[in-house]
């Protein structure tokens, strides 16, 4: 049995698209309250891993336990309850293009609550303001910039104060300051909700400022190279690739000996 601290447990997971092997033998644990970062080179399977975690793709082998429960073994009612507690922002945003931003944020509220219209409007305005989109409620996704779409997707993801947040590259397309604000926001959301955050990101600044735990996926060997605290990995990972990734390639093997 996993202890009470464990929120998500990934066991011997293999990810495939048909006959294309994406990743295999993934094993890691995400604790409650973690800001967990999935990192690795482009195309290594980070988004794929995320899609498996949120029940969109069925694992080829192995299992993902969320609160000790396997999504694909749960009954529909339980699946619905699990999803109720998740907020997700996709790599391409996933905003409904035929709805305004406000209507987008309203979708989960309509789906899971019976809020009176006035209160809902206030809540939507607040969530949009949180991500810096105050006053953009009546815009359509096609009418705002890529970075703004990312933030709008975030507003929709946090509409229901989820206890588990999944972000696929939340800060791609944001300037450094907005990106930093977003990081702070993520930590604040986690602190206020007591939830867990799973992020796919390349941003080293974000990784070092907010990640409490991370896994590194490798394109070449198609499996995880290392997992743990990224600050520790930077100097002490057994894999040079991980150290180089985390230091923007400025690290080499000599530094390791000097550093430790």
């Amino acid at each position: 049995m996993p202890d009470a601290d464990t929120h998500i447990e990934v066991r011997d997971l293999t990810l495939r698209y048909g006959s294309l092997l994406v990743q295999r033998d993934l094993n890691f644990t995400i604790r409650r309250g973690d800001v967990f970062v999935i990192m690795g080179g482009s195309g290594c399977g980070k988004s794929t891993l995320l899609k498996h975690m949120i029940g969109l793709e069925v694992p080829a082998e192995g299992e993902i336990l969320i609160d000790g429960q396997d999504f694909f073994k749960a009954r529909p009612r339980e699946q619905k309850a699990m999803r109720r507690g998740w907020g997700i922002s996709f790599q391409r945003g996933g905003l409904f293009s035929d709805l305004t931003l406000a209507e987008n944020v309203a979708v989960p509220l309509h789906q899971y609550t019976d809020m009176p219209a006035g209160e809902m409007r206030d809540l939507i305005d607040f969530k949009l303001a949180l991500v810096g989109l105050d006053g953009f409620g009546d815009y359509y996704p096609g009418e705002i910039s890529g970075g703004m779409q990312k933030r709008a997707a975030l507003a929709r993801a946090i509409a229901l104060d989820p206890e588990l947040l999944f972000f696929d590259e939340p800060s791609a397309g944001l300037d450094p300051l907005s990106s930093q604000r977003l990081d702070e926001l993520i930590v604040e959301i986690r602190d206020s909700m007591g939830g867990t955050v799973v992020i796919v990101t390349h941003e080293l600044a974000s990784i070092f400022s907010i990640a409490t735990n991370a896994v590194f996926l490798d394109t070449g060997s198609k499996t995880q190279l290392d997992c743990g605290d990224p600050r520790h990995m930077l100097h002490h990972s057994d894999h040079e690739l991980v150290r180089r990734f985390l230091s923007r390639g400025e690290y080499d093997s000599r530094d390791r000996e000097g550093g430790s």
């Binding site: 092997l21 969109l56 109720r84 790599q91 391409r92 996933g94 905003l95 409904f96 293009s97 789906q111």
Partner: protein
Amino acid sequence: MAETGEGEPAGAGPDYSVEASGDTVLLELSGDWTGDDAGPGHEQLRDACLGQARSPRRWLLAAAEGFRWDSRTLARLYHLARAGEDRGIELDTTGLPEGMRTLLGVAHAVRAGEVESEPQPPPLARIGARWLRRYDAVLDFIAFIGDGMVALLRFASGRSHTRVRDLFYFIDQTGPRALGIVALISVLVGMILAYLGSVQLRQFGAEVYVANLVAVGMVREMGPLMTAVILAGRTGAAYAAQLGAMQANEEIDAVTTLGLSPMEYLVLPRLLALVLVMPLLVIFSDVVGLVGGALVASGMEVNFSQFLYQARDAVGLGDIATGLVKSVVFALLIATAGCQSGLMSGRSSAAVGTATTRAVVHAIVYLVAADAGLNILYDKMGV
């Protein structure tokens, strides 16, 4: 032993020389490789290198004084390197200009992951597998219609995620906006039927029966079928493109993870809109077709009111009912083909195009098959 490519005046055209020593082959590039004269291709370079030593282990690339290059040169060396790699030959680029080495290194670092190839089954098994896939596709299609019916029941009991606003939107898109094209096609089909009929019937002096032919032909057959073909191209394709684009944009993923059912939220309003609108469009098409037929006939000794009077007698309630039943079946098929191929679409713009094509092709095949089936059924039932 040395071999040299086609001799050009020194310092001008692209040129190379190959020289072997032990298991190392030295390929030296010289001259200007940037001109319109592209110089030797990578196959030629490869063959030259391979021809030198019986089992080379290393290819050494070097550039002579005055060598000029651009990305076409790089492309050749890149393919040369891959050819070497496939044969287990190591490539040494230290003799090349710095810029070339950097770009070659970058290009090499990002090769796509290999797809594990499955063993090829024997030919007979392949044919079998292909037919089984077809069979599966038909089963999927039927299952999809079944899911649609379940969603419809949930909608009727008021427990579904379907938004009524969406339903009205799609009714507007599907119905009123298609009137023009349906009118145009129907009037022409009515005229064609009248021409065909009157030419044949004149031989028996039975020209007045052209009205029967046009009326029954339109109501039972051409009205539903032509309207269905128009809507397959107009609405079915649009459904596939919309849902395909939503798939590409990860909107379908978002629908699912928000706990909404794509069937109820996306498919049902489209399906229902088409099923509600199609019978009305078919009635409209029948009427316009009759007018077309009457216009032609009135130019040929059967006047307008005579034609309509005769047509009214010819068409019974049974004929109208058969046409309307067809229209509902066709609507289901078109909407299902469109929505299903949209939802199954890949995530690129090309995949959206493929999904659209598939939606229209499948819809038309299913339409014609269903039409034939229904006609046989009607015949057996005697309606």
